[in-house]
Amino acid sequence: MKLNLGENIISPADLRSLIEEVEAYAAYSRHRHIQARAGARPTKNTPRISETANEFLAANKPKDGYKLRDLDRLIAELEQRYHKSPQARITLADIASTGLKLSISNWLRLNVNESVLIDFRSDSTILGGMIVVVGSHIYDWSMRRQLLETKNKLIDLVSNNV
């Protein structure tokens, strides 16, 4: 079965957080299973997991429900995805809204690579546009870069208008 991460898992940090929540849920399930087999009363409360994790678990739920080995397999796949997925770091001029993050992430997963993880950062000095770092490649498509490239034109413009 193909792993469906969901559109809300965008960055490696999101994926790490999801893995930790799934691990907590697996630990709880294991504990409950042992207690059930021993006939003991449940002593541990259901762990509080995020809506994203809930959606993920729901989206990847087997037809006959989760068994312990299903959760272990899921965690292993998530770990593999975390380590194997291509990652990109995108720096924007301001903190990106969730909508913008989703737009960029969905576009990349649809057009470039479906399992890409994106780490969004902000730097106001780039003024606009973006700087993308993929592996050892750096793509500077920022407004600051464009301004610096046209610096001489800018000076001429300023000089002519003074």
Partner: protein, 201 residues
């Protein structure tokens, strides 16, 4: 025989011989005198025949003549000395004038030569100075021009940095990512292939 007696006899014989020889010599001189000695003995002694007054007069006269001759010769010698001195003086003056003139001419010629040489050297130095001056002027103009260009470039760079700093400072407070969303998506679209290539490596 006694030795003393023998010596006494020998001395006596010697004395007797000497006495005999002396006596013989005197006898010969007495009987045969020397011709010169005989002449000297024969020459009569001349006695002055002039009396005292006469001799005094002659002496005074001789002294007067001698004095006269001396004065005359002295006067003549004085005149000749004056003439000679004058001639020597004239000759010396002429010689001195000649020497001085010749030396002066030599000095003048030497001075002219030195003057010509100095003038030529001065001319050469002047040309060299002029050439160096022109070279220095050209070099300085070149350096000034280079410095001017450097300053202009520096001002341009600083000005552009200033403008850039101003723009960055002014714009970074007015960033609206919402307004940039379309631009960002368009950028992604424009660089889709580069993304694919980088992510799928």
């Amino acid at each position: 025989m006694n030795l003393f007696l023998q010596i006494f006899i020998y001395v006596d014989v010697f004395i007797i011989g000497v006495v005999f020889a002396t006596a013989l010599r005197h006898a010969y001189a007495h009987f045969r005198p020397h011709p010169e000695a005989a002449h000297n003995q024969a020459k009569p002694q001349v006695k002055p025949s002039l009396d005292k007054e006469m001799r005094t007069e002659l002496l005074e006269e001789s002294a007067a003549k001698y004095r006269q001759v001396l004065e005359k010769e002295a006067t003549k010698l004085g005149g000749e000395l004056e003439v000679t001195a004058e001639r020597i003086n004239t000759t010396v003056k002429k010689l001195a004038a000649d020497v001085v003139t010749k030396e002066l001419e030599g000095f003048q010629q030497l001075f002219k030569d030195y003057q010509a040489s100095a003038s030529a050297e001065l001319e050469g130095t002047k040309d060299q100075t002029e050439a160096y001056k022109n070279q220095l002027k050209a070099k300085m103009e070149e350096q000034v021009e280079a410095e001017k260009q450097r300053l202009i470039e520096l001002i341009d760079n600083r000005l552009s940095d200033l403008v850039m700093s101003f723009l960055i400072e002014a714009m970074q407070h007015e960033i609206d990512l919402g307004a940039q969303a379309d631009y960002l998506m368009k950028t992604l679209e424009d660089h889709k292939n580069e993304f694919k290539q980088a992510l799928n490596q």
